[in-house]
């Protein structure tokens, strides 16, 4: 499914933050992401990328958490 005009978490530059809109991941991994605090409406700040550019560290509800870019791509956000 292609959602028009949708940004994913990896599109957000380092230093900026965004609000979670939806998660495209399914199954147990969806649950893991939700449990980390990536529930729709929550704010995520992009903190830094690792030397090779993947994974990326995000500040999620006060904790610094690294996600691989292919997993972060499944997290849709808006920048409002």
């Amino acid at each position: 499914m292609v959602i028009p005009n949708s940004l994913s978490l990896i599109d957000i530059p380092v230093g900026d933050s965004a609000r979670v809109v939806n998660i495209l991941t399914i199954g147990a991994n969806r649950r893991r992401l939700l449990d980390l605090g990536l529930v729709p409406g929550s704010r995520v700040e992009v903190i830094r990328r690792s030397p090779a550019g993947n994974p990326t560290a995000y500040l999620i509800k006060g904790t610094l958490i690294a996600l691989r870019n292919e997993d972060a791509r499944q997290i849709l956000v808006d920048t409002n």
Binding site: N29, P51, L64, A66
Partner: protein, 471 residues
Amino acid sequence: MSTINKHGLLIIREIEPLLPGNVSNIKDRIVSGIYRQAEDISAQAVRTESSYQASLETKLDGILTSRWLGFPIMLFLLTLVLWITITGANYPSQLLASGLFWIEKQLLNLFVTSGAPSWLTGVLILGMYRSLAWVVSVMLPPMAIFFPLFTLLEDLGYLPRVAFNMDNLFRRAGAHGKQCLTMCMGFGCNAAGVTSCRIIDSPRERLIAILTNTFSICNGRFPTLISLATIFMGTLVARAFSSTLATLAVVAIIMMGILTTLLVSYLLSRTLLQGVPSFFVLELPPFRKPQLGQILIRSLLDRTLFVLWRAVVIAAPAGALTWILANSFVADTSIFALIAGWLDPLGQLMGMDGIILIAFLLGLPANEIFLPILIMGYLSAGSMLELDSLNALRTLLLDHGWTWITALCVMLFSLLHFPCGTTLYTIFKETRSARWTIMAALIPLALGILVTLIVNQGARIINCFSAGFSG
């Protein structure tokens, strides 16, 4: 899905009509509901008095994981930890050795004066006690330095940063991001490293991590590498730099081990253990002031003594066996020499000899007894000998035809051969599979034979060429 018993099925039958259709929607709503409440409570209970911005910690984090400095800092810290371990362990090792061998002399006197049969004296003192003394004096000091240093880095919160830096390599190898952490643990002890693979949830990736853990050079193998590096590389430079050069040689072998880990993980994840890397979340906790007291207690009790005890339990019978093999004769040759003779052709092909191979084989119970068995083999003295200096060892090895190629091949084979008995047993316990345990031994062994064959033949060709030029 688990099997549900009769009562469970009945309950499900009664409840099923009440369950709404869209499960994933419900899961989302449950988690959202909990987080909404959590947000609500924390909003009322927590007051932010000042914004916490770009503190020292965040800057430090930026440096440790930066594009240009991340990897050099890791390499530097690894070298530093090893250098401290190597330099620091030297003196206490000598002290322990002289103490323990003094006790041996007293025990020997006691046995002789009490008229004990010579075979009993041989098995108990020259076999068991000597290998124990060697293992304790060689292993204890480096472990007592290495493990606290490692725990210190762990406690500071540096290891998750290492995993963060290196994850891309592991991702490309089809392995789990946390394999980097289990690999680091393996530098202390492969058995502990294999146990730590439990942090990886996916069975496929855990197996990859377990099978490749032996490519982390463990404490049992460091002494061998350090001695050989000092003898054959250290002599190339002035005495003052020899321990530094030895450290660098060991670091080079470690780097090769890491490359092998990545390569074998890559091959496994595309052949025997196919699959995509599973979802991986890495928390980067804030740096915390380490608790030195706790670090010392935990690393000494949980790691050092634990590993040492296991080594001791295994080294004692291995020492006895070695003595018996070296002192049982068929015609005029000891069984030890006989086996060494059989293995010699293979050893020569791999740039080594029969005695080196037998030392690796008898070193199966614990890697740290490799060097003592080797020395015993060369001296044919029938018992393990502690040579008083590395110089004496150097002379002994050179007398038996060692060149830098031999040393290199032994160091490579030390990296690439079957894991020690304790590690194999741990692998069996963790995987509950004889098949994977055998694989864990065969993969590195096959690699080791291949690599030493290539290096040896390659080195010979180069030698021929250079001889041709100079001649």
